[in-house]
Amino acid sequence: MERKIVGFKIREDDYAFEIMKVVEIIRLKEITEVPTAPDFIEGVINLRGKIIPIIDLRRRFGMESKEATIMFRIVIVEYAKHQLVGVVVDEVTKVINAKESDMLAAPATVTGAGGRYIQSIVKIEDKIIVLLDIEKIFTEDEQDKLKIIALSEGGKFEESPNS
């Protein structure tokens, strides 16, 4: 069994999404900031009349951000069935045919950048490609974030009498 994955780079590292999750790849375009959104959400773009939220993977992985280059791309992926989300990556490399046998389960000890979001590790030639789990990237922290917002709001009401 072979699976196709879409490879991309962030810094010098190779990552990939499953091709079935990738809807399209576009050049970087103007992103409208949503001021009150969580940090890792860069903003929203207008893709032919559709409003699509954009995630900055660098920020997601806790890396420093980088001045956009001409190679930067937005990978539009499908998340939670019908929602589209754009992911900003440094560069899209190519579509890779990965054999099932080349895909290894993520070792539990991986803690590096994006470690929490790994679906599996793909070894091709001497390259290691991290196949990311889209659902995890977006869901987990969304919920974390929600919790944080809920907490801070609860707190506000408590502290307001003294302010």
């Binding site: 959104a37 959400i41 969304e142 929600l146 307001s160 302010s163």
Partner: protein, 677 residues
């Protein structure tokens, strides 16, 4: 149509019938001596029975059949109605509702406790209920002979009469006129659906010019098992026959061509022109009465239509902008024309989505009846303005909030009969539901004539919960004090009861109403009652908004929240108790910076500051912005599930140049910056 869409039609009709049952039973309860509402009850139960039997929901059919029996016996005088029976009937309606819910959600024909009710009713009526007849066996058997006699068009000449005028006109256009008698299987419970399908199929081939019985009656299923149509078409009889008999449950379609009597066509027309103008006019009025004047449309289709219109509006705005910069001949006038058409289209589509508020108002009398009897109170519901129309999405969204308010009226507002008598009021309390139009919004008010809100209690509670410092609490007006109730977690009811729970209602109501751009406010009349006021947008999809610049980006503020825009000299902004305010026509208005509210810090202000005066939390607030770009129609797009937790924005819109502008949710934005107010 597949079974799924049958099911949908069934569910919709079932819900209607259940509403009718509730209404009729409420009427009956008011005066148990008057048996007229029973006819309506009986009719609704009977329809429901037939429908469910055809759909194969035998348990529901059996259940409704039993009810029908009880009603029949009350009507016939063999069963004396009393309050127990009325209560049982009310509970039965609830069980039916449960049946319907279960059919919809789990596709099972079952409801908890339906057997129980059957047993109770049987005990009550102390006579064995009749066995249910199979599915849709006719209630009155029709002799076979009369059946065949009735449907043979060759033997009977009593069919509908098609006027010469129509015949001649058709002949002049090379069309044929048919008299069609459609016979629907007696076992069919969806006669109106079948009739509609007949009319739909026919209108593909020609025009229905007459019908017997009248189109409206056919549409509502008020005919035996056959109806007649006058039909003008170019198609041969055989083809028409095929197109009808394709439809399931159509027993037969007898088609007979009607020919004009041998007169000169011209002469006839002339004759018509001279003498029978009135008749012609009358005929013309009847003409468009093809069977179906209304069609049920799937809500999703309407939503997607609305979305498309929204996009069209955006494209229109872009085109406007392009046209303004270019000077092609005729472009401007074409764009104007285009504008007008889209405006009209938008109005039409919006209109299609409108529903009268009675759609939800009508549910309350029944609910109030149950809740008030539980609470040991006497309550009457008065409804005004039920015909005011509002977007169905808005309507659905406010059902729950209004229910909360009604519950509150019963639980907290209205007194017990004794308390009311002591206070010199009538024993029966009143809950008023009213709706009215106010320009681009609908105002819904829920009020009661109860004891009103005890301001002293509110004050105490506010102190207890440390909602605000004492000195500030003292400065609040009565109105402001009342509206403290809508702060999350605030409740003045001392005991928790099952009518209105923990009093979380009001803040839920407020949040909900504000979530779609509405305004919520309460008025208190100590000792005489209270009023909740919901100001709602007519539609959610396309709104008027003020575009402003702040922190380098463009934001849209819904006009419903704005009062005016002003230019104010920065030196006149005063600092009072570390808060910035302006004096606007003698009124002290706090100043907030939009840029600061969205976490971008306050921008340097020039000598003249642009301000938008907005209405938020019932107060005026002067919102400073970099500049005001103007008012414009915008189509609201959702930020999506993913960004729903981005506070302070209710959505986005796409501007003429393709860029995105966030729609500011003023209330939420201020709420998340509570300390600044």
């Amino acid at each position: 149509m597949n079974t799924e869409s049958y099911k949908e039609a069934f569910l919709e009709e079932a819900v209607e019938n259940i509403n009718n049952l509730n209404k009729a039973l409420l009427n009956f309860e008011k005066n148990i001596e008057d048996l007229t509402p029973l006819n309506e009850l009986f009719r609704a139960a009977h329809t429901l029975k037939g429908m469910s039997a055809t759909m194969g929901y035998d348990k529901l059919a059996e259940f409704t059949h039993m009810l029908e029996d009880v009603m029949d016996r009350i009507r016939g005088g063999t069963l004396a109605p009393d309050i127990d029976i009325v209560n049982l009937l009310f509970r039965s309606i609830d069980v039916m509702q449960e049946f319907i819910d279960n059919i919809r959600n789990q596709n099972v024909d079952f409801a908890k406790g339906y057997k129980d009710i059957i047993i109770q009713i049987k005990a009550k009526s102390s006579a064995p209920a009749r066995e249910i007849k199979t599915a849709a066996q006719p209630r009155q058997a029709v002799p076979a002979a009369s059946l065949s006699g009735e449907t043979d068009p060759l033997k009977t000449e009593t069919g509908i009469i098609i006027e010469d005028l129509i015949l001649n006109e058709a002949a002049a256009q090379g069309m044929k006129v048919y008299r069609i008698k459609v016979t629907i299987a007696r076992t069919c419970a969806f006669k109106s659906v079948r009739a509609f399908m007949v009319s739909r199929n026919l209108s593909e081939k020609g025009e229905i010019v007459k019908s017997s019985p009248k189109a409206k009656d056919i549409e509502e299923g008020n005919f035996d098992n056959s109806f007649e149509l006058g039909f003008v078409s170019k198609a041969p009889a055989q083809e028409i026959e095929q197109s009808i008999s394709r439809i399931a449950e159509i027993e037969k379609a007898d088609i007979e061509e009607v020919r004009a009597q041998k007169k000169e066509i011209k002469e006839n027309l002339k004759h018509a022109e001279n003498g029978d103008k009135e008749i012609i006019a009358a005929e013309n009025e009847k003409k468009p009465s093809a069977i179906s004047q209304s069609v049920r449309v799937n809500i999703e289709k309407l939503d997607s239509m609305m979305n498309l219109v929204g996009e069209l509006v955006i494209a229109k705005i872009r085109l406007d902008q392009i046209a303004r910069n270019k000077t092609y001949r005729d472009l401007a006038s074409t764009v104007d024309e285009f504008d007008r058409i889209i405006d009209e289209l938008q109005i039409e589509v919006t209109d299609v989505r409108m529903l009268p508020v009675s759609h939800i108002f009508d549910r309350y009398p029944r609910i109030v009846r149950d809740l008030s009897s539980q609470a040991g109170k006497l309550v009457e519901v008065e409804i005004t303005g039920g015909d005011i129309e509002i977007d169905r999405t808005v309507l659905e969204e406010i059902n729950e909030p209004i229910l909360h308010l009604v519950r509150n009226c019963i639980a907290h507002g209205l007194e017990t009969p004794e308390q009311r008598e002591n206070a010199g009021k009538t024993k029966k309390g009143v809950i008023r539901l009213s709706a009215r139009r106010d320009r681009n919004s609908v105002i819904i008010e829920v009020s009661d004539d109860g004891r009103g809100i005890n301001l002293e209690k509110v004050r105490k509670k506010a102190i207890e919960k440390k909602l605000m410092p004492l000195d500030k609490l003292d400065t609040l007006t009565d109105d402001e004090l009342v509206n403290l109730i809508s702060i999350p977690g605030f409740s003045t009811a001392e005991k928790v009861d099952n009518v209105s729970g923990r009093g979380v209602g009001v803040d839920v109501v407020k949040t909900k109403v504000e979530a779609f751009g509405g305004i919520f406010r309460m008025e208190n009349y100590q000792g005489e009652g209270m009023k909740s006021i919901l100001k709602l947008p007519l539609t959610l999809a396309i709104i008027q908004a003020l575009l402003v610049k702040a922190a380098g980006a463009t934001y849209a503020i819904p006009v419903i929240h704005t009062i005016e825009t002003v230019e104010f000299p920065s030196k006149d902004i005063k600092d009072i108790q570390a808060r910035r305010v302006i004096i606007l026509r003698g009124e002290v208005v706090p100043v907030l910076s939009l840029s600061e509210l969205i976490g971008k810090g306050r921008q340097k202000e020039s000598e003249i500051v642009n301000m938008v005066i907005i209405e938020a939390r019932d107060k005026k607030i002067a919102l400073t912005v970099d500049s005001v770009l103007g008012q414009q129609e915008i189509a609201i797009k959702s930020l999506g599930e993913f960004l729903k937790f981005a506070k302070g924005f209710s959505g986005v819109t796409i501007l003429g140049d393709g860029s995105i502008s966030l729609i500011v949710d003023i209330q939420a934005l201020i709420e998340s910056n509570l300390k600044m107010v």
